[in-house]
């Protein structure tokens, strides 16, 4: 029985590790300035905990194989050195791992969430609702119109609750259903939720942030590669949650300028 346990556990362990080592399923290519830090942190953690996983499963398999019932033929032994060295090893090794991960990881986290957006960032307002994202650009005047929840009227395309009749700044605001941005330009998003909680997740940007009703949450990033990517909702928001998505289009600056111009007409 011990032998069988060891064989099964070894196969499970090696098979589990294989798909990670082979990157059969893995993160897509990163397209953000802060992303390499996230990838590095994840890969370092994978290396450390992967070794720990394989090692401890194989030790378990070996011990179970080696120390099955001998029906009295073998005298029971204690682990050499007793518990103290194991406890010290656990505290020191795991402690060092934790300190290293926290120290390096904090910097990565800080680079995304502590730093203010770069001066001159392009500001885009985001409204999340059941079950769509809408994006608002300030228009030629560079000013966002103010928001009035009572004016929200999806039927007439007023997703943000603008009041162009009384609010000059709102008149040229551009509201669209996908996020189009220029490449290599710092972007500042301000996240609003119209109804319930949602979340903004773009795998390629290595970025995720909840929308919380009642508060406006800033989020900033810089995309480094052009292309079309999916923005999906990751906070359970109701029956259409699975289908709540938008596209992120990263364009060269000149194409972006043309696009923006076409939108204001």
């Amino acid at each position: 029985m011990g032998k069988f346990f060891a064989v099964v556990l070894t196969i499970i362990t090696l098979l589990s590790a294989y798909f990670v080592v082979a990157h059969t399923w893995w993160m897509p290519v990163d397209i953000s300035v802060h992303g390499p830090g996230v990838d590095h942190q994840l890969e370092e953690t994978m290396l450390g905990s992967g070794i720990l996983f394989v090692l401890s499963q194989l030790v378990l398999a070996y011990f179970v194989f080696r120390f099955g019932d001998s029906k009295g033929a073998r005298k029971a032994k204690n682990f050499p050195g007793g518990a103290t060295p194991l406890i010290i090893a656990a505290i020191v090794l795991v402690g060092i791992e934790i300190l290293t991960l926290s120290f390096v990881g904090s910097k990565v986290w800080a680079a995304i969430y502590f730093t203010p957006p770069e001066p001159g960032s392009m500001h885009i307002d985001v409204q999340a609702e059941q079950f769509a994202f809408y994006f608002r650009y300030a228009g030629p005047d560079g000013q966002f119109g103010s928001l009035h929840p009572d004016k929200i009227d999806d039927g007439n395309g007023n997703y943000f609750g603008l009041d162009p009749a009384n609010d000059v700044a709102a008149r040229d605001d551009i509201v669209v259903g996908s996020l189009t941005i220029p490449v290599n330009k710092p972007i500042l998003l301000t996240l609003h939720a119209k109804d319930v909680g949602h979340s903004f997740y773009v795998r390629e940007l290595r970025l995720q942030q909840d929308f919380v009703p009642g508060i406006v949450i800033p989020l900033h990033f810089t995309a480094t590669q052009t292309g079309k990517y999916e923005i999906v909702c990751t906070q359970l928001c109701g029956l259409g949650h699975y289908n709540m998505k938008a596209y992120l289009e990263v364009l060269p600056q000149d194409q972006f300028d043309t696009w923006l111009k076409s939108q204001s007409q």
Partner: protein
């Protein structure tokens, strides 16, 4: 420290005679323990069948599931699950499993049955509270299940019930009308039951220990139930008011969790001033300790059973594992924010919550090394409970290690809300705890029913389950790494469609592993009535539950007042007649302090 005071005669030594007092409204902790266990058994099979429906839908979105349209004509017209009914199944699966299985079975079930016996008491400190705690829990279960039968269907907001989705009523979606209110009431009632139970566990452990049963001599399972009760007393005391406030938001027009200016279903909501993050803080202040309410009894049960089958005490004695459990208990209160790294709370606090979360891995690692070190040099008896203990160690390692990733905000920003999280908590909290429940069932069934379970069926059950859970949950890590979002009823995004074959594999594995549980159910029921009679101490074990008949008499020890001389794990004792010494044996052990 001798605990010499006379025990209060909680039963007055008169066994009940009527059926109702004996089996229904019983004051006997053993009957109450079995009632909890039975409720958990009904709950776990219900939860498992719900997960089958979900898995089938995730693999084959248009599949018609037989009979499901009869159960829910609206939720699954023609047997095909609608997106909202998928979320209902998800919500009910999570709620049933976390509350009515993982809290009920290892803690309330086994704890009620064995804690008083393991400390040498006749019953719990407050038998009437004990009876109430079960029946309150039973009512909570009925209220929750009632949500399946209301017009609008069960709630869709997940077991975490994030506001405002869960707080504004029917406007936010189907199932968010009466179904969600029933959910809130059910959990509030459940909290009352747990609070009564926790008080009872603590008082019994501290006050009703028999002569010589010092805290240091208590079995590790009892230690685990004691620490868990302390955690539960604080955790459920926070969830209870949180649920009351949620229900008030829903039915009394208050705005604890709902801010102003929300437009839902084209209606401006009549609320103002509340905070969705307040619900998250209250919920996770309970929710994270809850993880340990599920896993600490599992750690205790495995640490209790393992020495019986390795035939030697745990490496370093009991105090190392006790220390680990107490440390985990304390730390469980300062880590709740790791569920909220991306919730919009101050990003500085993410780092504050990350560090203690990572520190929890230290006591968890020590416990694991102690188990491994205890296997070294042993003579393992490969019984079914022993196999489930070994399996527990393996899945606990697998589930624990993925915690390294999620504890770090910088990685959580990618992996949060993906299947990586689903894999993590199912392994460490679900599967590990279930393995301990199985180990406990095979181990204690002879004591609880006086009959042995079938070993061959038990071993077949173990192997199918062990391989099965890895086939189900290991691939979920890969899905998470590929960014597969959880709580989606279908995968329509361009990058998710290629991952559907992995989901199909998981579905097949889940159905097969689920079917293997029928072997367990058959074994359990068949052995209960037809199994070979068990002796008083079939496993050659040392603690007090093996020092009485199988099953124990009404007052547990037939009027004997026990005196305890030894720790709970005197196995492989040199110079002793057997290879073990019972806790109550007056025999001297060379070198025992």
């Amino acid at each position: 420290m001798d605990h010499g005071s006379a025990q209060p005669a909680v039963h007055h030594m008169t066994p009940p005679t009527t059926f109702i007092r004996k089996y229904v409204f019983s004051l006997d902790h053993k009957v109450i323990g079995l009632q909890y266990y039975g409720l958990a058994l009904v709950a776990v099979f219900t939860g498992m069948v719900l997960s089958w429906f979900m898995r089938i839908h995730l693999g084959w979105a248009t599949a018609a599931i037989p009979l499901l349209d009869k159960l829910s004509p609206n939720g699954a017209p023609g047997g095909v699950i609608t997106p909202e009914y998928y979320l209902s199944l998800l919500t009910m699966h999570g709620t049933i499993m976390v509350f009515f299985v993982l809290t009920n079975a290892p803690f309330a079930g086994f704890g009620n049955y064995f804690l008083p016996i393991q400390v040498g008491a006749e019953d719990m400190a407050f038998p009437k509270f004990n009876m109430m705690s079960f029946w309150v829990t039973f009512v909570a279960f009925l209220v929750l299940i009632a949500a399946f039968f209301v017009a609008d269907g069960p709630p869709i907001s997940g077991w975490t019930a994030y506001a405002p989705l869960s707080a504004v009523g029917g406007d936010s979606g189907p199932g968010e009308a009466l179904g969600q209110t029933l959910w809130g009431l059910s959990i509030a009632i459940f909290c009352v039951g747990q609070l009564l139970g926790s008080l009872n566990f603590i008082a019994t452990t501290l006050d009703l220990r028999t002569k010589g049963m010092t805290l240091a001599k208590m079995p590790l399972s009892t230690w685990a139930w004691f620490v868990t009760a302390c955690i539960g007393l604080l955790a459920f005391a926070v969830l209870l008011p949180a649920c009351i406030l949620l229900v008030l938001d829903r039915i009394a027009g208050t705005s604890f969790f709902i801010p102003g200016g929300l437009v839902i279903s084209d209606k401006l909501q009549p609320h103002n001033g509340g905070s969705p993050l307040l619900w998250q803080h209250l919920f996770w202040f309970f929710g994270h300790p809850e993880v340990y309410i599920a896993i600490l009894p599992a750690i205790g049960i495995v640490s209790h059973i393992l020495p019986t089958f390795t035939r030697k005490p745990l490496l370093g004695g009991q105090r190392v594992v006790i220390g680990c459990m107490v440390a985990i208990g304390f730390l469980s209160y300062v880590v709740w924010g790791h569920h909220m790294f991306l919730s919009g709370m101050n990003p500085f606090s993410a780092l504050l919550f990350s560090v203690p979360t990572l520190i929890i891995t230290i006591p968890a690692t020590i416990a694991t090394l102690i188990w491994l070190g205890s296997i070294y040099g042993a003579n393992i008896r490969f019984t079914t409970p022993a196999l489930f203990c070994l399996g527990f160690i393996s899945v606990f390692i697998s589930g624990g290690i993925s915690g390294f990733f999620l504890a770090q905000p910088s990685i959580d920003t990618y992996l949060h809300a993906t299947y990586f999280v689903v894999a993590h908590f199912h392994f460490v909290m679900g599967v590990a705890a279930i393995f301990a429940i199985f180990a406990g069932t095979y181990f204690w069934a002879p004591k609880m029913w006086g009959r042995m379970m079938n070993e061959t069926l038990g071993k077949i059950h173990f192997w199918l389950t062990f391989i099965g859970v890895y086939a189900i949950f290991m691939p979920m890590h890969y899905l998470g790494l590929a960014g597969n979002v959880r709580r989606y009823s279908a995968f329509v995004d361009d990058y998710l469609v290629p991952l559907i074959p992995v989901h199909k594999f998981i579905t097949v594995a889940a159905l097969l592993t689920g079917a293997a549980q029928l072997i367990f159910l058959y074994n359990l029921i068949h052995s209960r009535f037809k199994g070979p009679k068990a002796s008083d101490n079939p496993w050659d074990a040392t603690s007090l539950e093996w020092d009485t008949t199988s099953p124990p008499p009404f007052d547990n020890f037939g009027g004997r007042h026990l005196t305890v001389y030894h720790g709970a794990y005197e196995y492989g004792v040199a110079g002793s007649k057997g290879d073990y010494v019972m806790q109550t044996s007056p025999e001297k052990i060379v070198g025992e302090s």
